[in-house]
């Protein structure tokens, strides 16, 4: 790729601006450690991306504030992919070829992760994906701190089927996340002798759900599972509430709240939606309260802090812990720490431990219900493992594995 003078100047100006932002005493020796990040800071997916970008800046600032890593400063290379997959591939190339970063924390949608994962694998650049997803990625170069279906889908299905019955209607975003998550919904339902009466998929720009809402009523399920994603799909929750369905058929979601949907909807529209995940601002622990206080001090508004912003924060802090333990920023040295089972961080959402076999995280899972624009916690399961991915993936035995497993229905 040729770089024009203008691009070069912009990049140079950008990186000076970034460096100028951190007014910490420069650590004495060595050049800085480079941390690359690509996130959707604008566009259809910015409800997810913006807080993640802030969390990234905050984590890096905290690491530098505590004296950096191995006596070196961490320098952040942040790129805005503008909800455009093509920009992910472009910036991924830029991170490995021009910026030559030491680690990458990037990607929001599963489509974006799959667009860039192989680039980092080929370049031997350690890659962290810090978002809840559909599970199954088995790649030694890729570390995942978000939840998987065994953690975020199974508890919902379990609780909802006990409470409401065994007939399920699934609606999901039409790309790999939604499709594979829908399979897991069916899998966990079948394990409990339930049935998914119908599954509908929607491209990310669909905003009219009138016919779907009528079809759901016609199928008369005991509850609905939504794996909808992004700004346009918000229209579903709005139209669902506008037709009064929120009072008639219980709604659960694997994604709701992750994009702060509960803030965009009024309390009357959102109340009662059941979700499961790693983080809620209502977590009463001191670690969470201090995290929110620091966020308040740096950015002001804490209302926008959501699960995957916290995941991103966990991911960067966890990587920093690994660097300290390894005494090196080399990929192999860090992977050795991870594969010894010693990679962990105690963050705002509790303990996060990377499992050596899958490079996925064991973490605390909370069953939550939307109340008054808040995610109020019903119950917490400590240290739930990523058992879905662990069924297929053993990186200790097959370190060269490089694929994403899917559940067979």
């Amino acid at each position: 790729m040729a770089i024009s003078r203008r691009q070069l100047l912009t990049a140079a100006a950008g990186s000076t601006a970034l460096t100028a932002g951190f007014s910490f005493p420069a650590p004495a020796q060595g050049s800085s450690i480079k941390l690359g990040s690509i996130l959707d800071n604008s566009g259809l997916l910015d409800i997810y991306g913006k807080p993640m970008v802030m969390a990234t800046a905050m984590a890096v600032e905290e690491i530098n504030g505590a004296g950096g890593l191995l006596g070196r400063k961490v320098e952040l290379k942040q790129y805005d992919s503008q909800s455009d997959i093509a920009l992910y591939t472009k910036y991924a190339q830029q991170l490995v070829r021009d910026d030559k970063v030491d680690v990458v924390h990037a990607g929001i949608t599963s489509a974006s992760r799959e667009a860039i994962r192989q680039t980092f694998r080929r370049a031997n650049t350690l890659y962290f994906y810090n978002v809840l997803y559909e599970g199954g990625v088995c790649d030694r170069n890729c570390v995942i701190t978000g939840t998987t279906p065994a953690q975020a889908v199974e508890p919902i299905i379990d609780y909802a089927m006990k409470k409401w019955g065994n007939k399920i209607y699934t609606i999901a975003a039409d790309y790999n996340y939604g499709q594979i998550t829908a399979k897991w919904v069916a899998h966990y339902a079948e394990e409990r002798k339930g049935t998914v009466v119908k599954t509908d998929f929607f491209p990310l720009d669909v905003a009219d759900f009138g016919s779907t809402i009528a079809k759901i009523q016609d199928a008369a399920p005991n509850f609905v599972v939504s794996a909808l994603v992004g700004g346009s799909h918000m229209a579903f929750y709005r139209q669902w509430a506008a037709s009064g369905m929120n009072k008639r058929i219980p709604l659960t979601s694997t994604t709701f709240g992750v994009g702060n949907e509960h803030l965009a909807l009024s309390a009357a529209e959102g109340d009662g939606i059941l979700i499961a995940g790693n983080y809620s601002q209502e977590i009463p622990d001191a670690a969470n309260k201090e995290f929110l206080a620091r966020w308040q001090k740096k950015f002001g508004d804490t209302k926008i802090v959501h699960e995957i912003a916290v995941s991103q924060y966990h991911g960067i802090k966890l990587w920093a812990e690994c660097v300290k333990q390894a005494g090196s920023i080399e990929r192999e040295a860090i992977l050795k720490v991870i594969e010894s089972g010693a990679a962990k961080v105690d963050g705002p959402a509790g303990l996060v431990v990377i499992e050596p076999k899958t490079h996925h995280a064991s973490l605390d899972i909370r069953l939550m219900v939307v109340r008054d624009q808040k995610l109020s916690i019903i119950e917490t399961a400590k240290q739930r493992p990523p058992s879905d991915t662990a069924q297929y993936c053993d990186l200790l035995k097959n370190p060269n594995e490089n694929k994403q497993f899917e559940v067979k229905i």
Binding site: L44, D200, V206, D208, T212, A235, S243, S266
Partner: protein, 288 residues
């Protein structure tokens, strides 16, 4: 039985939706033969005007039914005076200029409101048909569309202004010879077209939510509705909106909304192949 009523209501809503987003374009394209590629952005501006006014504490109905059309109409007037009036009769140049304008408007709105999805809550509660719950706001959109098209038809058919406008559309020279200035007629027509687009954007804002780039989603549907409709503004737009809305929803109910959309586009291709002059080129030839 209830289910049939639900399907019919959803079809009615889709017809109203298509007619509403096409009204402004139909007036501008039908009367002036100007292809306004910034039409989708006019609709988007109407939505943002509504949301901004609502957030400023103005009653939602005033915001969508009055402020949105007035503001977007004013933008339309400005655009006509500054850009479009120099390009009458030069179709390709107009398309280029208005396409540039659409990019500019998207950029400006992104700058002001940010590239973020925004929305207002629907002001009308749901209602019940048998065992089904329906969105009450959809009915409001249907009502607005019916009134709007009724108004357009009455004005074009039975008023002197409408007569002059239809005259200018058929033969600008003759109207000019009778002492009316076609330039002023065009200016007013473009302004009214823009105002109608603003109204559509305002009324639809509570249902769909808004992004600065949302115009792209509207313009494709508006164009196929208007072009397939042909020269008759009211009859053409309503007949194609009726056809497309029905096919879209029936297929959506039978399969998924995506396939419904595909079916609608296929139908448009077939119709244009059979009737290159549009539906009103063959049927309802003497209608408005």
């Amino acid at each position: 039985m209830d289910y049939l009523a639900v399907v019919l209501l959803e079809i009615l809503y889709m017809i109203a939706f298509l007619a509403l987003i096409s009204a402004g374009l139909a007036v501008v394209f039908g009367m002036m033969r100007v292809i306004n590629l910034a039409h989708g952005e006019f609709v988007m501006l109407g939505g943002y005007t509504t949301i901004a006014s609502y957030k400023a504490g103005i009653n939602i109905y005033v915001a969508m039914l009055l402020i949105a059309p007035i503001v977007v109409g004013a933008v339309g007037l400005l655009v006509e005076r500054l850009i479009v009036r120099f390009l009458y009769g030069r179709m390709i140049d107009t398309m280029l200029a208005t396409w540039g304008l659409s990019l500019l408007l998207t950029g400006l709105v992104t700058l002001i409101f940010g590239n973020t999805a925004v929305s207002v809550p629907a002001p009308i509660p749901g209602y019940q048909i048998g065992r089904y719950q329906m969105g009450g706001y959809n009915l409001f959109i249907v009502a607005v569309t019916i009134l709007l098209f009724l108004g357009m038809w009455v004005v074009l058919r039975y008023t002197r202004v409408g007569l002059i406008a239809r005259g200018a559309m058929l033969g600008a020279d003759i109207v000019s010879a009778l002492g009316h200035n076609p330039r002023i007629i065009y200016m007013l027509t473009f302004t009214i077209g823009a105002a109608l687009s603003g109204l559509a954007g305002g009324v639809l804002a509570p249902l769909t939510g808004l992004l600065p780039s949302v115009g792209g989603a509207y313009i494709a549907k508006a164009f196929i509705t208007v072009i397939t409709g042909g020269a008759g503004i009211v009859a053409g737009t309503l007949s194609t909106a009726g056809l497309f809305g029905t096919v879209n929803q029936i297929v959506s109910f039978a399969s998924t909304p995506v396939i419904g959309e595909i079916a609608m586009l296929l139908l448009a291709i077939v119709l244009l192949r059979l009737m290159p002059q549009g539906v009103t080129g063959r049927f309802f030839r003497n209608s408005t």
